[in-house]
Amino acid sequence: MRRLQRILALVFALAMIGAACGTDAESVDNAIEPSEEDSGSSGDGAEDEATSEDPDDSDDSAMEETVGFAGTIKFGAALSETGKFSVEGKDSRQGYDTWAEWVNNEYGGIKVGDDRYEVEIIYYDDESDADTAANLIQRLIDEDEVNFLLGPYSSGLTTGASAISEANGVIMVEGNGTSDSMFERGFENLFLVGTVASDYTKSGIEAMAASGATTAVIAYEDTSFPTAVAQGAIAHLEANGIELLATEKYPKDIQDVSAIMTKFRDLEPDIFIGGGHYNDAVLFANSAKELGFKPDAMLITVGPSNPKLVSELGDDVAGILGPTQWEASMAYEGDYFGTAGDYAAYYESLWGEAPVYQAASATASGMALMLAIESAGSLDTDAVRTALRGLDAEIFYGPISFDERGVNIGKPMGTVQIQDGEIKVIAPDKAAVADLVFPIGE
């Protein structure tokens, strides 16, 4: 029996290690969809190996033009070049660099009073580890003496990093850490240009309520981010007078949802809301089909804004709704990059690929800081903070205006619907390029 005990103990230990290794799959889930993980990953805080690179390394000629600048404003960011968020880290960095490139080479530098300042961004690799990110933020503040900070990727990393920036009184603007809990700490120096998790389903639910939906069911993975999204959805359903018939939680890595869908089918709701990871989107679509469950609308919180889901699932996801922070097709427009489409074209000319929303959020974070600095006419933290609080602008990313928590309440979360094999933005009205089709198939 001792041998058995040892085997079972080892199997358990290996299962745990395997589960930890398996989280890599999520990293790429996250690459294209909103699903931040609050847990840190492996990594021992070897910050000495972090890379610091020249700002604007994409264009050496930028250095020659620095002659015309009155000075340099230093921005700092810890981003994941390695580890489970390496893909999102790369997208975020390209987003920040797009902003720096544009400011230095197209715009002519940030206006502070009558002077123009060059943007310099100092990056370190946080190895997708929350502790490392927090240490690097301290280093950026102490050793590199940055003026302002840009956020890392994911709620987990931003939570720790923003605690350091807050303690040091340095402003951090970010777009890729959206958990509501971060903004309930009373921080004064953390600003989010994106929409918080609890509002992911808001515009979608409002659009469906306006189309006559009266009942709904929700199934969600009981991990941090999907739970925050689902709790937000429950509140939005109530606010829109939609009756919630049932709520089901399910564990991560689920392999069968037919029981949940059977129960839901028998309740005959108007709306099905579900979400967690991509695999869940596949399971929900399959299961609804094989059980003959046909609600008037299905809103899946992770997946529908990803073109891969559409190409893999084809007709099975026709009519399905999903939230998105930003799409290049959105009808937003601003004085700087022009329309969302113009921004996407500029981004693509730099990097040879279309921007995902993480990149757009990163660029928008830089833009928000720039607008606040210009409005304040100063690099003083208090003045810029006050300017950020009073900011009311519209850019390619959408409207930006922060509430007292530091959350952008100007930009509603977008909702897309898969129509004729294409991802179309249907809400909010300001960003919509198509009308909601409700019920599906009408």
């Binding site: 799959a25 009981d222 037919s258 596949v282 893999e312």
Partner: protein, 297 residues
């Protein structure tokens, strides 16, 4: 009443899926004494092979499954020759660790080749059949169940009736005695491992239209196979079928009749049954080829 019928159908359909997933794992453990920690990764390899066959050749996964079986048999044979054979006489833990290493290599290797983007395999056998009002039969899972029953029958005949099958059972029961009576145990092991990896790969092909195909889908499948095998009996074919069906029905029932957290309870259920079975009946509910705590040799 119609809901109960639907629960039973869901449970049996799920049981069918678990059956094809567990067979290869169970026999390798039962016969070779190797806990194949890379089981889920071999399922994943089979699923990718089927997906590729569909993507490149337009082959339906149900038609591709026999080809995937042959391909994965070769993979299994190679893994057995190169790795497993060298550690088979050493304690269980060594082979367990070797297979754990293989699982990490396979999942990360596939991530490098195919990226972590998920895929889904299309099949013509999808949708549902309406049995009566409020009761449907899922078509894909129905055919997976049929395939599972086919594989179970063929394996039973192979193990019971053929000379090689009898050699396999003999080697499982007593390796030394099998050697003494002239059975080439190494050959038996090679064939068993190749056959089981072939079945595991075919299982991957069959479930590729049901679960998203991605490099890291393996570990939860390995754990499920582990739970069903240890609970039902090592290397027992009827155990694999029975254990999978019991678990499928329990999971389907819990998930539908317990509100809110039923699906979570269903996941716990398999391990509760595992723990109870290990304590009360280490040879498994259905009696395996060897007790779960048998020595490596």
């Amino acid at each position: 009443m119609s809901q109960l019928l639907q629960v039973i159908i869901n449970g049996i359909a799920l049981g069918g899926m678990y059956t094809v997933l567990v067979l290869g794992f169970s026999i390798i453990w039962g016969v070779l004494g190797v806990i194949n920690f890379a089981h889920g990764e071999f399922v994943m390899l089979g699923a990718y092979t089927a997906w590729l066959a569909n993507d490149q050749l337009g082959l339906d996964p149900f038609l591709a499954a026999p080809l995937v079986f042959l391909f994965m048999m070769m993979v299994g044979f190679a893994v057995q020759k190169i790795l497993v054979n060298r550690v088979i006489d050493r304690p269980h833990l060594v082979s367990l660790l070797v297979m754990f290493g293989v699982s990490i290599i396979l999942s990360n290797g596939m991530k490098l080749i195919f990226s972590a983007d998920f895929r889904r395999n299309d099949t013509a056998l999808d949708g549902s059949w309406q049995l009566m009002d409020g009761v449907t039969i899922p078509v894909t899972k129905f055919f997976v169940l049929l395939a599972a029953l086919g594989i179970v029958s063929a394996l039973s005949v192979f193990l019971q009736r053929t000379r090689m099958g009898k050699s396999i059972r003999a080697a499982a029961q007593n390796r030394e005695a099998a050697r003494i009576v002239g059975i080439d145990v190494k050959k038996v092991y090679a064939i068993t491992f190749a056959l089981c990896i072939g079945i595991t790969g075919a299982a991957g092909a069959l479930i590729s239209p049901i679960l998203a195909v991605q490099p890291f889908q393996g570990p939860p499948l390995t754990l499920k196979a582990f739970a069903i095998t240890a609970m039902a009996g090592l290397g027992s074919i009827k155990g694999a079928l029975g254990g999978a069906m019991i678990l499928g029905l329990i999971e389907a029932g819990l998930a539908i009749y317990i509100s809110g957290i039923g699906t979570n309870l269903a996941v716990i259920a398999s391990f509760v049954i595992l723990v109870v079975a290990l304590v009360l009946r280490p040879q498994g509910l259905f009696g395996g080829l060897r007790p779960v705590d048998a020595m490596a040799s």
